[in-house]
């Protein structure tokens, strides 16, 4: 067996591909929690996108919504720690009162930003891509300005949630152990992701809300003629979606780092949109696509920690480190260009809805 593998690895070019696959298979169980952790913000962004676009509103401003939420979560910590005190970390997830309040404020911020986008897209009927872009620019400018103001004293934030430590026996189960590791070795937001994905998948396709949401995104006029309030439903969905994006932003500053840096979302909101398209506007599909993108980032990290052996290792060592930084972005473009034709968006996606007919 080993000899066979060595033989295959020895073939020029193809061997390198085989070695890559072999390496991926061997590291996957170890990096699976990292993959999920990289996927969380992307998947939450994608989920936000699914919710908006299924209702017919294009939301390019997810990136900005996440950035604002990440900032608010951190800034809330900065202001609240002196007031509420650090408090002893809780037994599970290292919860402190400040962290909880910071998370809630981040969600509130997400709701507000989403309300702004909803207002511009639905009531003002502005071009939705421009509206979203403005939210991104504004988020970058305002968080940058406030961060400059606050960070001059290099204050401490509220810290971060810690990861759950599942029982060793569970993780070390043969074959399936790494799956438990993947989904359970997470903080509170990371762990809630799977629940959110499943809940939205079921509700979108089985519930009355889901049916109405889909109809509003496909043919709002038809929905209105059967008595559905298109404007209200779109508002509600876009705003709720903002809370989901905010979770993704708060994840970055409250669960990954415990601090804020300018532009820390680094395009995850946009990668989320690509995941949504590739996942065909379904929550589960988008989650799968997010995992795909996250793997490309996680592999880059793991190569730094545990470089692959043999010829592949030599090859990889020659690549500049920046190549791995760019990998998720390259993967996004390649997959998007390859798959998009087969993925059909909701028919009324991005079209403002005007109620009263003119004739």
């Amino acid at each position: 067996m080993e000899q066979l593998i060595d033989l295959i690895y020895g073939i020029p070019v193809f061997g390198l591909v085989a070695q890559t696959i072999g390496y991926l298979v061997s590291v996957l169980p170890d990096i699976s929690p990292i993959v999920l952790r990289s996927a969380v913000p992307i998947a939450l962004a994608a989920l936000c996108g699914v919710l908006c676009e299924r209702s017919g509103v294009v939301n390019i401003g997810i990136e900005g919504t996440m950035l604002v939420a990440a900032f608010v979560a951190w800034a809330a910590g900065v202001f609240l720690v002196p007031v509420l005190g650090g408090g002893g970390p809780g037994a599970i997830f290292g919860i402190t009162p400040v962290l909880v309040v910071a998370l809630l404020l981040a969600i509130l911020a997400g709701l507000l930003v989403a309300t702004l986008h909803a207002w511009l897209s639905i009531s003002v009927r502005a071009d939705q891509i421009i509206a979203g872009t403005i939210i991104n620019i504004a988020a970058f400018g305002i968080t940058g300005y406030l961060y400059s103001l606050i960070s001059s004293g290099s204050p401490a934030g509220a810290g971060a949630f810690t990861q759950f430590r599942p029982p060793k026996e569970l993780i070390e189960l043969p074959l399936v152990g790494w799956i438990f590791d993947m989904f359970l070795s997470q903080g509170p937001i990371g762990m809630s992701l799977l629940v959110l994905v499943i809940v939205f998948q079921v509700f979108l396709f089985r519930s009355r809300w889901g049916l109405r949401t889909r109809s509003v995104g496909e043919h709002p006029r038809a929905a209105e003629t059967v008595g559905i309030n298109v404007v209200r439903l779109r508002y509600r969905n876009v705003i709720v979606a903002g809370a989901i994006a905010a979770l993704g932003g708060a994840f970055l500053s409250l669960e990954v780092t415990g601090s804020f840096t300018q532009g820390m979302t680094a395009g995850r909101g946009f990668i989320g949109l690509a995941a949504m398209i590739i996942g065909r506007w379904s929550p589960v599909g988008a989650f799968g696509a997010a995992l795909l993108f996250a793997s490309s980032a996680a592999v880059g990290q793991s190569i730094g920690i545990a470089p692959p052996p043999g010829e592949l290792g030599v090859f990889v060592a020659k690549l500049p480190g920046q190549f791995f930084d760019a990998l998720p972005y390259i993967a996004t473009i390649v997959v998007l260009a390859g798959l998009i034709g087969k993925s059909i968006p909701p028919a009324a996606d991005g079209q403002p809805y005007e109620r009263e007919s003119a004739t």
Binding site: F203, R206, S207, R208, W209, L211, R212, R214, S215, E218, H219, R221, A222, A223, E224, T225, V226, G227, I228, N229, A347, R355, E356, S357, A358, T359
Partner: protein
Amino acid sequence: MTEEVGAPALEMRGITKRYPGVIANDHIDLGVRPGEIHALLGENGAGKTTLMNVLYGLARPDEGEIRLDGEVVALEGPADAIARGISMVHQHFMLVPVLTVAENIVLGSETMKGRYFLDRAEAHRRIIELGQRFGFDIDPEARVGSLSVGWQQRVEILKALYRDARILVLDEPTAVLTPQETEEIFAVLRGLAKAGHSIVFISHKLYEVLEIADRITVIRRGKVVGQRLPSQTTEEDLAELMVGREVSLVVDRGISKPGEPVLKVVGLKARDDRGREAVRGVDLEIRAGEILGIAGVAGNGQDELVEALIGLRRPTDGQVTLEGHDITGHSIRSVYGAGVAFVPADRHRFGMVLAFSLPDNLVLTSYHREPYAHGILRDDAAIRRTAEERIKAFDIRTPTADVRASTLSGGNQQKVIVAREFARDLRLLVLDQPTRGLDVGSIEFIHKQAIAKRDAGTAILLVSAELDEVLELSDRIAVMYRGVIVGTFDGRTADKREIGLLMAVGAREPANGATEGSVA
């Protein structure tokens, strides 16, 4: 006028609705009794749809009141109307193509299992039962987008019945149906009326109104201009009421003098956007100075055929020759250059740029040629001169040439396209739904222009979902069904029923008693 028998189920009194610059409804009165089929007759733009939007809560009247069973009601929206037993079948179907029949029917009045979830099994049971009561079997799991228009119409009616509608409003329900489908729908409507439903039937087709209605109210320019009983009126009388002047119901098309063949199509095949073969081997020939009309239910490959001829779609097989020159698969620009013009069906999507001024729209297909351009430079003065000329010649009503095309009425927009395309020296003219949604005056104008063009020796291909238009204008008629030509007729002697049957089933005899392309 006869005395009213029985109290009206629905009464609209003094309904007035103003939009900026127009009074769409001007003190309209309308009463409908239980079990009555009441026709609302008027031409496009007369205010019929506005009136029904008022009734359905989609538009709020500026004046007037609506009474149901004698009680004044205020309708805040469709939900209100539905709750009071009013349902509407819109001219453009209000169906979501990607959803199933059942999902479309229950939408907004969902049958629930618990607080959040849909009860599909119960909904299916009720839909099948309702369908059977009115004589059709329907598959609740079928995607609406895959149904024929006739079946979509039935889904719309089921939607109304599912909500226990007492008053049913149908806006131009037969616009896209074959004569046979129309009769089937009429049978359903008569059954509903007999069961006690009140029906408002909106139309601009005189003979249909005479056939189905118990009473006819005619409106023109937002006002009620008369009420008639079918037994006491004629098509001519109704036409004059509707248009406000005497109209000739039949265009004087004169006698065509066909010359040499201009367009020859042999074995043409083309795929639609989803990659399915939509044109499956079409043979056609059109001579100079004749109009060939293509009849067919929308979606039988007419769009793809036209696009393949004109160069907007690449044919997969077959040959197209224009005056002996092979133009198969040539670019649209080179086809235009060979003396072909095309008036597209969707004027807002293809025919013009609504955000552009009239001069820019009037040179949309010739901006790159002398005298409008010298090399890569535009000649704005020349473009403007031509525009002024054509606005005058084709009587395009506009304050100045500088307005955006979007500010013109539908009839004037179509005149812009006609002015642009007819003005050239043409060998072949392709007209796709040239009068859809226009008022009688514009229709007459465009028909006359087409006949003048024919008499000048141009070969004309006319595609229309309105069988009446095809019958009125064509020297020869070809019927298209599922991507092939299933029959050709002489325009003067063609029998409407026979063509209708061909349109519906693709054969002159109904096969095995089935009367309809089944649910796909």
